[in-house]
């Protein structure tokens, strides 16, 4: 492997591995991401002497300066500083890849790649970071070692001062002798101890959580759950496949359905103005009383064996908990703050929405216990629960027609049933070619098109209930989850975002869903096995890496202490291990190692054998192998054959050295020539005899000679 080519290949791989998580995080703009890709591709082909010319380097410097100016202007114009800095680092990396000439360029590429890795820690918590980081760790030792060797070469040969130095450096860079496949594999294997240290430090380093600075980049807001929701907002996220939360049922039932329909309540909206749902200004957030790490919604303890779920929620804005109906008790894990573990702060609004404290923006893990508790937010005194927008008389009339007469419960049931019967579900809210009459989306839905999404149904149901005097509010959340058998959890994706209604009937809030059953949302194909594997890895990544915190450390320490004392259960320590997940990873790793080995072997054979490999007879191959074994043995004894020596010259040099070599080397050399080039073959048992002769070579202590020992 030529030194320069090897260094180039590994440097490009490392740069790509470092930049990919940053690009996938979405923190860098599309033009910058595309530009980096172009520079990465172009840089591969741009080589000295072109990149060493003064004009080229001046042009690169000018581009760097221009990029800096652009980013500064953007920052002045209001672009986030962190984003602008990350983008500039990516641009610099791309430009540096296009200007590789000396050691310093490679060193700067390594530094800029490292900056990408650092930058990505504040840009993404996704599993793509894990992949990028792993590749970076594997490649980094090789790249740094090669950069160091190049530095030594340039420094020692003073290539800028003398012609001889330049020639010598060029020869070394083109040499295949400096680094080999073994070197790359060896330095690559250094990543194993590096990773071990990484894991040890990661597990053992106490999480103080001083919190002087927060995360630079705020968590992205999710449409449908922010302060305002327009009809159609949920369509935007329903078209995506982002996993929002994952949960595991707490019961030990081994049979899990592939898809679970579960209503996870998130945001609550009570004001409808100008076709937009809003929340009354949130001045009524009240801290929830904590008993340790438990928060009760109905002031009742959860009975033993209560069903429930362990939920892991991705970081999102606003930081609302998603709760299934009937939740009576919430248990969260404590968070570290200024070196102390404390209960996480939960607050509840008057509408029953619960938000959590998320200083590190990594999401939250919590467990919910179902106690058939009433929906939270019991107050119905809020006048906005009965407010309908102006000019909705036709809708109110329709509501009265559908609801008829009777108690609130009966009227509400009839109204919901009427909506389900009369209207049909559509995958999108406003098809382009749909006939449209009316000023508002609701008018078009109710009186013209007759089809709509869950937001149309929920909004219509809420406003119609209000028009007949029943307090009501609109809820957004999620309605279904797909089981991941590899990870053993249910994944809730954005495509299952849903809207429904809660009405205050007979002194309690009741869930009413006017959306008729439809296959439109549910007929999507379940995730592929690969997607499930990736999701399972992502889940483990989030749970054990992103979500690893002080409380987990304390729990682990307790478990280990208990095991040490002999009273603990080892299963608690290994509960994180999922062999279903680890087994495929191991298989992939083993296959990768075998593949690399086969590839290297193939390349090695091709290089050593050249075209002659095809015409060499079996005996010739054996003769070559025997002679090479002879050479290796002699080299180990300090009598290495020089590269410019023929076998005969080598034999003569051994004799000239006064080495007592006996007849065996002459025999081996002669037979090598005869079989390898003379077309003759080996006699029966001759190969074993020659090999035994080779094994018999050894130093004769006290003399410079060497004797051919007896065959062993």
């Amino acid at each position: 492997m030529r030194f320069a080519a090897t260094q180039k290949l590994l440097t490009f791989l490392m740069a790509a591995a470092a930049a990919t998580p940053m690009i996938l995080s979405g923190e860098v703009g599309l033009p910058v991401a595309v530009g980096f890709g172009v520079m990465l591709a172009a840089g591969w082909f741009l080589e000295p002497p072109l990149v060493a010319t003064v004009r080229y380097r001046q042009a690169l410097a000018a581009l760097m300066l221009a990029a800096l100016l652009v980013q500064v202007v953007r920052m002045v114009g209001g672009a986030p500083v962190a984003r602008a800095a990350l983008e500039y680092a990516l641009i610099l990396l791309g430009l540096k890849l296009c200007g590789r000439n000396r050691f310093s360029d490679y060193q700067q590429i390594a530094v800029l790649s490292f900056m990408q890795v650092i930058g990505a820690t504040i840009a993404t918590f996704d599993v793509s970071y894990a992949v990028g980081f792993l590749l970076f760790v594997v490649l980094c030792p090789s790249v740094l070692a090669l950069a160091h060797l190049r530095n030594e070469m340039e420094h020692r040969f003073r290539h800028e001062d003398t012609v001889e130095g330049r020639v010598a450096l060029r020869r070394l860079l083109a040499s295949r002798r400096v680094v080999s496949g073994k070197f790359i594999i060896g330095t690559g294997l250094l990543s194993i101890p590096v990773l071990l240290v990484t894991v040890a430090l990661f597990i053992g380093f106490p999480r103080f959580g001083l919190g002087f600075f927060g995360r630079l980049s705020p968590t992205n807001s999710m449409a449908g759950f922010t302060t305002e929701v327009r009809i159609g907002d949920l369509d935007r996220i329903r078209n995506e496949e982002i996993v929002v939360l994952r949960f595991e049922p707490l019961d030990a039932n081994a049979n899990r359905p592939d898809r679970m329909f579960i209503r996870l309540r998130g945001a609550v909206f009570d004001v409808y103005e100008n076709d937009t749902w809003k929340r009354t200004p949130q001045r009524f957030w009240k801290p929830m009383a904590a008993r340790g790490t438990h928060y009760s919604l109905d002031n009742r303890p959860a009975p033993d064996g209560s069903p429930g779920y362990s939920i892991m929620l991705e970081s999102m804005s606003p930081p609302f908990l998603f709760l299934p109906g009937g939740t009576g008790l919430i248990e969260t894990e404590p968070i570290a703050s200024v070196g102390l573990l404390k209960a996480r702060k939960l607050e509840m609004s008057y509408t029953g929405v619960i938000r959590y404290e998320d200083p590190s923006r990594v999401g939250i893990r919590y467990r919910v216990f179902l106690t058939d508790s009433a929906l939270p937010g019991a107050s119905s005194n809020n006048p906005s629960y009965l407010v309908t927008p102006p000019r909705t008389e036709p809708m109110a009339e329709l509501a009265r027609d559908l609801a008829g007469q009777g108690s609130d419960a009966v009227r509400a049931r009839r109204l919901i049933a009427g909506l389900k019967r009369k209207y049909s579900y559509a995958a999108v809210s406003e098809p382009e070619n749909a006939p449209a009459k009316g000023d508002t989306p609701l008018d078009r839905f109710l009186f013209s098109r007759g089809t709509g999404t869950c937001e149309h149904f929920a909004t219509s149901a809420t406003l119609m209930l209000r028009s007949i005097g029943i307090p009501s509010r609109m809820i957004t959340g999620f309605s279904s989850a797909d089981y991941n058998p590899i990870g053993g959890f249910y994944a809730v994706r954005t495509r299952s975002a849903h809207a429904w209604t809660e009405a205050y009937i007979d002194g309690a809030w009741t869930t009413l869903d006017a959306t008729p059953p439809s296959d439109a949302g549910m007929s999507r194909a379940p995730p592929s096995t690969l997607a499930m594997v990736i999701d399972a890895i992502g889940m483990r990544w989030h749970r054990h890496v992103i979500g690893y915190d002080a409380s987990t450390q304390v729990e682990m320490a307790r478990t280990i202490a208990a095991m040490w004392e002999g009273s603990g259960s080892s299963s608690s320590l290994f509960e994180y291990i999922s062999w279903k997940l680890i087994a495929p990873i191991c298989v992939v790793l083993v296959l990768a190692v075998l593949g690399v080995r086969v590839l290297f072997r193939f390349r090695w054979k091709r290089r050593r054998g050249g075209f002659e490999r095809r015409v060499m007879t079996r005996s010739a191959l054996k003769a070559t192998a025997i002679y090479m074994e002879f050479q290796r043995r002699m080299a180990r004894l300090g009598l290495e054959r020089k590269t410019n020596q023929t076998p005969n010259e080598y034999l003569s040099s051994l004799v000239a050295l006064g080495v007592d070599i006996g007849e065996a080397p002459a025999l081996i050399t002669r037979r090598y020539h005869e079989v390898r080039f003379g077309g003759s073959g080996f006699e029966e048992g001759e190969i074993e005899h020659l090999k035994a002769q080779i094994r018999g070579f050894h130093f004769d202590e006290g003399s410079i000679g060497m004797n051919a020992g007896s065959p062993k």
Binding site: T121, L190, P193
Partner: protein
């Protein structure tokens, strides 16, 4: 074997960045930063282990001349053998330690394969006369990442006599030569002065037959002559300093160098040289090869000891006297 570890500039930056990342990780609780911190610390540890492996099982051999001249370049050779079976040693630097100080010349080996040996010659130069001790060789490496320089001292002792340097000196006139011409030494030789007559024996040169005596005695007689002895130049060197100041010592060193230069010049011209210093009765030599003995004597002169002794006394009034105390016997 003693080991040493020093930070390179890149290493200092790396450690500072590690501390920064560590602070950021502790402060923010961002687990990804803990991963990065772990990676950086892992790199530091791996760097230490690998550099240790690089310096292990290596053997150094040195070849230097026994005598060298001060301030004159001399060749030296350092060879490094990697005795490891599998691992190559990369980026190894050798540096001799002479008289307790690392020598400025360095020998660099980019790669020494397992079981192989490489050697590099370097140009040495020693400034001061005397006996120089090669204490050992400092083997160092910055491999693999250039963050730290690990050194290992290999005890490899050698001695080199540094002869006094040559300094510009005017050519010595022939008049300085004592007893120029011939000396009676009473030994047969190829001189001009008659020594004796003796009977001719087989092997004698027939041109040496004294025909008159042969005729007179009736048997072949040859004429023996006395061997001529060349004149010699006597150099009287008083290498005692006036006082202990640097200037006085420099003057003494200069005087020694002058003496050495004269010895070299004269022996090169085929003259015999006799050197008289304090505490020595006088050393005579003939020829360039023989001058080495005088030069070694000069190289090892200790001015402090000489100052305590009497001034050197020459035997010839034409002796070249060098030094402070110019006393020459009549």
């Amino acid at each position: 074997m003693p080991r040493g570890l020093t930070f390179t500039r890149d290493g200092k930056v790396f450690v500072l960045i590690s501390l920064g990342v560590g602070f950021a990780a502790v402060n923010t609780g961002n687990n990804l930063l803990f991963l990065v911190l772990g990676m950086m610390l892992g790199m530091i540890i791996v760097s230490g282990i690998l550099s240790e492996i690089t310096l292990r099982h290596v053997t150094v051999t040195r070849r230097v001349p026994r005598r060298v001249e001060a301030n004159t370049i001399f060749p030296a050779q350092l060879a490094l053998r990697n005795d490891k079976r599998w691992a190559a040693s990369f980026s190894v630097e050798l540096r001799d330690e002479i008289d307790g100080r690392p020598f400025r010349r360095r020998c660099f080996f980019l790669k020494i394969g397992p079981g192989s040996q490489r050697s590099i010659a370097y140009r040495g130069e020693l400034p001061l006369r005397g006996l120089s001790h090669f204490d050992g060789t400092i083997v160092s490496t910055r491999f693999p990442f250039g963050l730290f320089e690990k050194t290992r001292f290999i005890d490899l002792k050698d001695k080199v006599i540094v002869l006094p340097a040559s300094v510009p000196v005017a050519a010595t006139p022939r008049t300085a030569m004592t007893n120029e011409g011939a000396l009676q030494v009473g030994v047969c030789g190829s001189g001009q002065d008659f020594l004796e007559l003796r009977d001719m024996v087989p092997g004698d040169d027939s041109r040496r037959v004294d025909w008159k005596s042969t005729a007179r005695l009736g048997r072949p007689v040859v004429r023996e002559t006395e061997r001529d002895a060349d004149g010699f130049v006597e150099i009287v060197l008083d290498a005692s300093p006036v006082d202990g100041t640097d200037e006085a010592l420099e003057n003494v060193e200069h005087d020694i160098s002058v003496a050495a230069t004269l010895i070299r010049q004269m022996t090169a011209r085929g003259l015999n040289v006799r050197l008289v210093t304090s505490g020595s009765a006088g050393l005579s030599t003939r020829g360039v090869v023989g001058s080495v003995r005088l030069l070694e004597h000069l190289a090892l002169l200790d001015p402090a000891l000489i100052a305590r002794g009497p001034a050197p006394v020459g035997t010839s009034p034409k002796a070249i006297v060098i030094g402070r105390r110019r006393e020459v016997a009549a």
